[in-house]
Symmetry: C2
Subunit: 362 residues, 2 copies
């Protein structure tokens, strides 16, 4: 194979070609440094500059104020499922969770090891095909925080509003849609995201923490699980993923170059609209899992009239160079993950492929 | 700068040029895959093969039996300082620690959060300039395990024997000398190492765990901190550092190609001998921090007659293309980290540079 294929993987996922080419050019030796990015010390001036620039560009993209710290950690969102309650739940030891899928449930599981979890809303009985409405919440005004998952990779749903939680700190797992659209960070006390979908390679966890939250972290916590360790040391208490932060920096630079997150959102919306229109114009042949007002612009999940047809579409698509379309077993059917770097042309090609398939098979 | 410099950094550190060139070649697109290594799913067949091959090659290099599991985790040795006691200390809740430097002390600090730590030996009163002898140990035969650090990056000392601990499981932090020489893994219950010195880029933690140890991990542990989570899921409970594991695989393949760890040790010994001979033949101008029987073959720490001369040597060396020679503040002076991939030629050049410097300045 000598050309790049269309990669619909749910993550790790496609990266901008500009970023890959720049990283490739410098992989043997960074210009003016005489060493590879894989070899430089995390205490070196070269890395200082890369790290500071990545943070600065992300702050610009997200319009972040100085009341927030920005961290590059390890262990993925899965470790944040534990770090959030360990750091933020005491002393009240109770928190509200809005449950919209597999990842929210995993977050709940770890939080229960620390204190009392109140499921303030859940759409599990509807197989997570929608985001709950504000009026459905049963919030506890004394909760240590409210936690939710902004985009549900497996079910293909996404929050299109920010939950109103009064004075309770709001915590969000944005692994699947961070940097896909502008967000009002000021509504959040803590945001975390695995980098491997929209930001860079796997192995980096991005955390935005409002500075007043850090005061909650107790000295009895294990050092690496304490947010204070990482804010006090600017993510360099121990060796971070130097290469991962470097790639995230290149991605941030690329996003600024195309006009920032509002521009990125327009492109993402256009890609998603193409696919959803294809469903809506298919006379029920393609049936989205998510109800229309909860549709994700990152992960598009759908079924066909039979499992046989689903298998055939996946096989035909794979043969035609569309990779990673098999849906998660919790939903079945197909899933197209179309993160930031997924090209519009790839969605256009998939849609015409799908329309062709429908004509031949309905 | 258009050529590679000599990088004496203590880690992240120099990698084999063969590995860098291969990674560079395939960074935009893996042959026959149509995607970059930075984009492939950790659940894909392509990654399955890379992961399985890396494990197989490491097993071959380390002569590992099927009674051991091999894991690629995140969070560095620093997270292992917590995971080891959290998983292995209960139910007896006490463990022995042999303390030979900063990293051992950090391990002790986290272990104390879990149970009782017995300092079975320490050379702190001698500023960690030597490894304790077996007859100095005050071991507790009922300890849950004995922990030590095989190589002390900061002090430049290294264990040249494996502690005898009877039936108590032996745990070792090998971050700084893993894969530098053959080891008898059968003497260990658990070995861990940050990858960023001899194995690959930063962001991967390598763990070798004897299978009977896994039974100690309790279900009450946070999921990501439980070794059982990772052994049950072959390091894929959540998204690992795909790129890091890929590079580690290339490094393992490279080490096999040069003849394995006994061959690697010969080269490392030769490099270290060159530097230590330079000290021993300098009439006390270069004074090693480590006592001779505890000298590390990875990190060589030394002082000069005055701090002024030390500064001058570092400055002159940097100007001549020898980077990263400044010693850690705990020891002062200079440190040359000469991990596996550091070229013999670089040590030869440094030695002749140092001898020249001595002639001019003594």
């Amino acid at each position: 194979m000598d050309k790049r294929i269309y990669n619909f993987s749910a993550g790790p996922a496609v990266l901008p070609e500009e970023v890959l080419l720049e990283a490739q050019k410098d992989l043997f030796m960074l210009p003016g440094v005489g060493m590879s990015i894989l070899e430089i010390s995390h205490r070196s001036k070269t890395f200082d500059k890369i790290h500071a620039q990545a943070k600065e560009d992300l702050k610009k993209l997200l319009n972040l104020g100085d009341n927030y710290d920005l961290l590059f950690l390890q262990g993925g969102a899965s470790l944040q499922f534990s770090m959030v309650p360990l750091n933020l739940m005491p002393p009240v030891n109770k928190a509200d969770y809005l449950v919209t899928g597999t990842w929210s449930k995993k977050a709940v599981k770890e939080a229960k090891r620390v204190g009392t979890v109140n499921i303030a809303a859940s759409t599990e009985s509807e197989n997570f095909n929608r985001i709950p409405k504000q009026e459905e919440f049963k919030l506890d005004s004394e909760a240590a925080y409210v936690h939710y998952t902004s985009n549900n990779t497996i079910y293909g749903t996404e929050w299109h509003y920010v939950p109103e939680v009064g004075n309770v700190p709001l915590v969000c797992d944005m692994s699947s849609d961070i940097l896909s659209a502008p967000i009002d960070v000021n509504k959040y006390a803590l945001i975390y995201a695995g980098a491997q979908k929209n930001m860079g390679p796997s192995g980096v966890t991005f955390v935005i923490i409002r500075k007043d939250m850090i005061e909650r972290s107790q000295d009895t916590l294990h050092t690496m699980l304490n947010y204070k360790t990482h804010t006090d040391n600017d993510s360099l208490y121990n060796t971070p993923s130097v290469f991962g932060i470097y790639i995230i920096g290149l991605v941030a630079k690329y996003l600024l170059s195309i006009g920032g997150l509002s521009e990125m959102k327009k492109i993402n919306q256009k890609k998603a609209d193409l696919l959803y229109s294809c469903f809506d114009n298919s006379n029920g042949f393609f049936k989205g899992h998510a109800v229309p007002d909860s549709r994700s612009i990152m992960n598009i999940t759908f079924r066909l009239p039979s499992e046989e047809l689903e298998k055939k579409l996946i096989a035909d698509a794979t043969a035609a160079g569309f990779d990673g379309l098999k849906g998660h077993r919790s939903v079945g059917g197909l899933r197209a993950s179309i993160y930031n770097a997924f090209p519009l042309k790839g969605v256009e090609d998939l849609v015409s492929f799908m329309e062709d398939f429908r004509k031949k098979n309905s």
